[in-house]
């Protein structure tokens, strides 16, 4: 392995580890944001659903549980992928799955951004400021995930046979 390859490999490993940590941080932020939303503000949802849920405490509670479960599951997946990325960067494991999963996440986040844009122009829903914030977060997350995908692909190309350090 020549020096340029080694330098590139270290660069992408560093990027991947950093992106993995950032993705974990964003996952944890999702949980914190949810707690803040429950504690301080009403959940953002369309008026018909809100009208339906507000009539029944049990239904609202069930909805809240579902939301919490959904967010925690997503966060768990984010944390899992983040740790996988870090392991892959440090030559401690991982395989071709990581590039595929991160490619899927890239598409998912692109759809998320598109959805938020469309929701911004939906006259029935309010909260342009929160939409803008959400878009910024989504774009940032997209960049992180894209970097994870690109770095993992490049690492695979540069170092097909990984070695473990002591």
């Amino acid at each position: 392995m020549n020096e340029k390859t080694q330098i590139d490999l270290r660069r992408y490993q560093s990027n991947l580890a950093l992106s993995g940590m950032a993705y974990i941080a964003f996952g944890i932020w999702s949980v914190i944001r949810l707690i803040i939303q429950f504690a301080l503000t009403d959940l953002q949802m369309n008026p018909e659903s809100l009208e339906l849920l507000s009539g029944s405490t049990a239904l609202f509670a069930a909805f809240a549980v579902i939301v919490v479960f959904f967010v925690i599951t997503l966060t768990g997946i984010q944390i899992f992928i983040g740790f996988k990325a870090i392991k892959y960067a440090r030559n401690l494991g991982g395989s071709v799955i990581l590039p595929i999963v991160t490619a899927f996440l890239v598409l998912l986040h692109i759809f998320g951004i598109v959805y938020i844009f469309m929701a911004m122009f939906d006259t029935k829903q309010d909260g342009t400021d929160t939409s803008i914030a959400a878009i910024l977060i989504e774009i940032t997350t997209l960049i992180i995930v894209f970097d994870m995908m690109w770095s993992s692909i490049r690492i695979k190309m540069l170092n097909p046979a990984k070695e473990k350090h002591k």
């Binding site: 020096e3 080694q6 330098i7 590139d8 270290r10 660069r11 560093s14 350090h165 002591k166």
Partner: protein
């Protein structure tokens, strides 16, 4: 470097360069004193505090890191411990703020080193000692800068020591770092102390080789690491080889100063004078120990036939305190202070002249007395 090299090894080098025992003692005392001459000590002596050649940990803990504080820190550390290699270095696609720090990176055989040694020619033995300290540190402290900077002085957490077994096979063993400065390094298990990671660019933790701990100051160790400034390139720091070069270059520098026939030039090493003792010197340098003081001391005493006193920081303080105002410059510490001021002025002026405001914004003129500074 530590006292083993700055004091005892410098003594040996001075002897090999032809200085007498007494002269060598003055030179090596001054070389070691550079690591101890802080503002606190100078205040105690009622000496000019701008002659400080180091900062204590307690002083650093209290130091401001705004531009004024940073300039003060940079003046001291760049002038005496991390002599910049190339004040006009070029690196593409970097901001001006980054380049100001990049240009302060220390490496051996710089133009400033030539100026440092030649500035000491015709000066006092104390000034010569200061120059030798700086020369030695350019080897040990290479690739670090004497200014607090995360983007320059940080390094990867993965530091690998290159270990050679009895059969000559080399392997890399990971070094572990801890952040307990009170406890000694465990060199057998490769556990060393370094400064804690601080994300702030100008944190004191990112000054000099703090992030590498004492690794640069151990003569026996060879290790690889990734410095923050080198774009993912790995550096092999071969301390045994570099310490030997530092020693032979010191002998050459001291000879040029003593004989006065030619000016000091970089990349020249006096292998001839050290040849009879090469194996012994390499053995001292390569022995895995925290301090090689005893080995160097024994070597020095064999060379001179005289006893090498242990370093005593209080040795010359009474002489300075009790001297009259007119006679202070003639005392041992007075001559040291003059040499320190001259050196600091020269380096600071060079940095300012290069357009780098990190060491100050005013140019100094060095008077003929080599100590009085005129703005």
């Amino acid at each position: 470097m530590n006292i083993d090299f700055h004091y005892y090894a410098t003594y040996c080098a001075a002897l090999l360069a032809g200085y007498s025992h007494e002269q060598s003692m003055e030179i090596c005392y001054s070389a070691q004193f550079v690591d101890l001459c802080s503002k606190t000590l100078l205040s105690k002596l009622k000496a000019p505090t701008n002659a400080a050649t180091t900062q204590l940990q307690t002083e650093l803990a209290d130091t401001r890191t705004d531009i004024i504080g940073l300039q003060d820190i940079t003046r001291i550390w760049s002038s005496f411990h991390f002599l910049p290699y190339d004040l006009y270095a070029v690196k593409p696609n970097r901001t001006r703020a980054y380049m100001r720090k990049y240009r302060l990176i220390c490496k051996p055989n710089s133009d400033l080193l030539v100026k440092t040694v030649n500035l000491a020619r015709g000066g006092s033995l104390q000034h010569i000692g200061i120059a030798m300290h700086i020369l030695a540190d350019t080897w040990a402290h290479a690739y670090f800068a004497g200014t607090p900077s995360l983007v320059i002085n940080n390094m990867s957490t993965e530091v690998l020591e290159v270990v050679t077994d009895e059969e000559g096979n080399e392997t890399e063993q990971r070094v572990k770092f801890k952040h307990t400065p009170g406890s000694p390094d465990d060199i057998e298990n490769r556990v060393y102390t370094n400064t804690i990671y601080q994300g702030s660019e100008t944190s004191i933790m990112n000054l000099g080789h703090g992030r590498a701990g004492h690794l640069p100051d151990y003569s026996f160790i060879r290790y690889t690491y990734l410095p923050a400034w080198d774009d993912y390139r790995k550096i092999l720091k071969d301390n045994p080889a570099e310490y030997y070069k530092a020693f032979t270059q010191m002998v050459y520098a001291l000879k040029t100063i003593r004989e006065g026939s030619e000016e000091f030039r970089k990349d020249i090493y006096d292998e001839e004078a050290t040849a009879p003792y090469k194996e012994r010197i390499k053995r001292i340098i390569s022995t895995r120990q925290i301090s090689a003081s005893q080995d160097w001391k024994e070597f020095g005493e064999e060379l001179s036939g005289c006893t090498v006193d242990d370093f005593d920081i209080n040795k010359y303080q009474d002489e300075y305190i009790n001297a009259s105002a007119d006679d202070k410059d003639k005392t041992f510490l007075g001559r040291f202070i003059k040499g320190a001021l001259a050196q600091k002025g020269m380096v600071t002026d060079s940095i300012v002249k290069s357009g780098n405001p990190l060491a100050g914004m005013i140019r100094f003129k060095i008077s003929k007395l080599k100590g009085a500074l005129h703005v």
